[in-house]
Amino acid sequence: MRRFLSLGLLCLLLLSITVTSQAQTSSTANADAAALELLEALNVKSYSAKGDAITAILQSDDERARDWLQALLDGRLQSTDDGRIVLVLDNSGREWPVADVLTGEALGQMSRRDLDRIGINNALRNQLRSAIAVVDLYSPNIERRRHSAERLLGEVDETLAEPLSELIAGEQDSQVVRRLSQALAIYQVESGELAGVEALRGSLHPRARVALSRAVNGDDPIVADAAASALGSIEQNLKINRGLETLYFGLSLGSVLVLAAIGLAITFGVMGVINMAHGELMMLGAYTTWGMQQLLPGQPGLALILAIPAGFMVAALAGIAIERGVIQFLKGRPLETLLATFGISLILQQLVRTVISPLNRTVITPEWMSGSLVINDALSLTLNRMVVLGFALVVFAALMLIMRRTRLGLDVRAVTQNRAMARSMGIRATRVDIMTFALGSGVAGLAGVALSQLTNVGPNLGQNYIIDSFMVVVFGGVGNLWGTLVAGLSLGIINQVLEPWAGAVLAKIIVLVFIILFIQKRPRGLFPQKGRAAEG
């Protein structure tokens, strides 16, 4: 349906453009008068009348036309009780700020009760969308041109073909040119021209693929064969991309598991504390991110960056509190720690529910993390997950450094191997315990910060990860950081490889069964280690 509209509008538009190019622009005063008239025309019941009004606005040479259409599309074009048309700037809350639709100057607040949206139905929506798309083809703004060029793929027909080739000739932005010519090629393939097939060879864009696969069944054998061969190579190419994609999915899921588990690998693996509150420490990290964004409205990116140290600190402090308040009394009684920390996790959850809210909190994804990195038309890597993946690796590396290179790491290992001995050598075991636990908790906080970009920030965040975390740590071999890394990533990949053909649920089940069998094959995990924790 959009197709006809776009074509119709295009003709109108081309016409109007050519007209305006000669005509002198009249004085702004009567332009505004005219514009107001055009807009008033929108404020009618019948949708067909609105449609005409829209076309009228398009034909008017007013450069504000696009903004008006956009506003209409967004439902921000509203009429007051006295029939005046205004632009609603923000329609949340009870009082809405409005602006003059022509000059755009603010008119202050108005009660939502006194405002009525200029309603549109879906037909109008499509009309508006395509209209805007076509207008954008001529917009000076490259982004808009690119966007509307994207939309033209597979939408071209003979009437659009002509002006399109002119546009390609006149266009200087390579991307737009590429898209437009692809759009043209698709049209050519659809109309059975061999040239189009050649042009589309190797293109991974779905629309291109669709066009070719249709051409394969076309009546012209030459074209059909060419299309078939082109399609073949494309399919081949797609398979490879599919594989890469799955691998990426696996890695990113794995990185989440690693992040969630790595803190546990320290508190549980090294200290032998079965910390059921680990998940809630992650939750604290996530909430810190949210809090930061509340403190710094408008700059989610900065808030997120700041949340990294903040989240670490918050979780670490909470960890210290737990260690001092409870765990220190349970030395050498790992099971007791399970009970106590489980109690703590309950308390923390309910605390968040009562203090903040039982509802999930919105954590905004900053610009530089949203969207995805486009490798080609068939493969694009989501940015947020890529960042998380990188973050996980950095955290891991940092921990490795701390454990291997710093005094703390040395002390920790000493205390782990032989507490009494370490003591007698003047290592302050209690202090080491506090530090270790704080470190583990802090890392949990970091995991929370990362997770806030992927999933719910709510009271249940922790529970959803605690089980998996233990699985990963144990699968990797308690007390072995490398084990945790390998375990996390491999489990992630296995899961994602299985998912397409086994389905999400079955995949998870298979992974669990795999873990069970693996453990009974290697009772101490991937990388067994000696030491207090290993005796569990």
């Binding site: 069998l517 693996f518 009974q520 094959k521």
Partner: protein, 278 residues
């Protein structure tokens, strides 16, 4: 990694058809026979082509500096550690290398650990009861009753190891020496053909040592006894045959005097006698 694989895996199987304790055959030759046994823990050879034979009813002392492989040798005999190569026979019928600890134990090889390990929360009496040679399958164990002669036997052993007064105490509260005794007592309850005794007198007073010496020598003849000990005095007091281990293989063998006069031995071991004995 498949389930099937792991089920058909050879070692550590629940051998439900494990050999019933057939009598140990010592008609021709020794009760314990180790040949060319080698064990290496990631590279380091703890036992290196060890050859050792113990005759029936013999009492043998094994000495050697720390790390000579004494304890490892016992681990091999009792099935705790599997050698990389070599063969270990109990009598001329049983190849110990394809048996697990319980089989070997029920075959009649008892072991006393270097660090005394008794069941701390169980009473002295119960410790002995568990050690007693009996049908050790599940249901017999479940339905087992305390009969008169069992009690007599336990009392007897309690007598021998002088713990009668403490019979109802949890073993956890015993002194180090007493634990040693209890463990020896547990060995006696097992009625083994071969006793492996690892440092029996560590932490014992003079008198206790003497009692232990009597005990062990008393045992010899009825049973074969292998004693690993650092305390030269004690060894001298009981030893007829002495084997010196060094770096995982036999350095010298013979009576105490022969051994102690052996230059090689003096060089590697007795030279450091004083601090070893300490």
């Amino acid at each position: 990694m498949s389930l099937l694989q792991s089920l058909t895996q050879r070692d550590r199987v629940f051998d439900f058809m494990a050999p019933q304790d057939s009598p140990v055959d010592v008609r021709h030759g020794p009760i314990l026979y180790m040949e060319d046994v080698t064990v290496s823990f990631d590279g380091f050879k703890a036992i290196n082509n060890l050859n050792l034979t113990i005759d029936d009813g013999e009492l043998r002392c094994i000495i050697g500096p720390n790390g000579a492989g004494k304890t490892t040798m016992m681990d091999i005999i009792t099935g705790k550690t599997r050698p990389n190569s070599g063969s270990v026979w109990f009598g001329s019928r049983h190849n110990l290398l394809n048996m697990n600890e319980p089989d070997i134990a029920s075959l009649g090889i008892g072991r006393k650990f270097q660090k005394p390990t008794v069941f701390e929360v169980l009473s002295v009496f119960e410790n002995l009861e568990l050690a007693m040679s009996a049908d050790k399958r599940i249901f017999p164990t479940l339905t087992a009753r305390m009969t008169g002669e069992i009690k007599d036997r336990i009392d007897e052993v309690l007598e021998t190891i002088g713990l009668t007064a403490l019979r109802h105490q949890p073993a956890g509260i015993l002194s180090h020496g007493q634990k040693q005794w209890l463990e020896i007592g547990m060995l006696l309850m097992q009625r083994p053909r071969l006793l492996l005794v690892d440092e029996p007198v560590a932490g014992m007073t003079e008198q206790e040592m003497e009692r232990t010496a009597e005990l062990l020598t008393g045992l010899a003849g009825k049973q074969s006894v292998v004693v690993v000990e650092h305390d030269m005095g004690f060894v001298r007091s009981i030893a007829r045959q002495v084997t010196v281990l060094h770096q995982g293989s036999v350095l010298a063998e013979g009576t105490m005097d022969q051994v102690s006069s052996d230059p090689k031995v003096i060089e590697v071991y007795l030279g450091a006698d004083d601090d070893e004995a300490a």
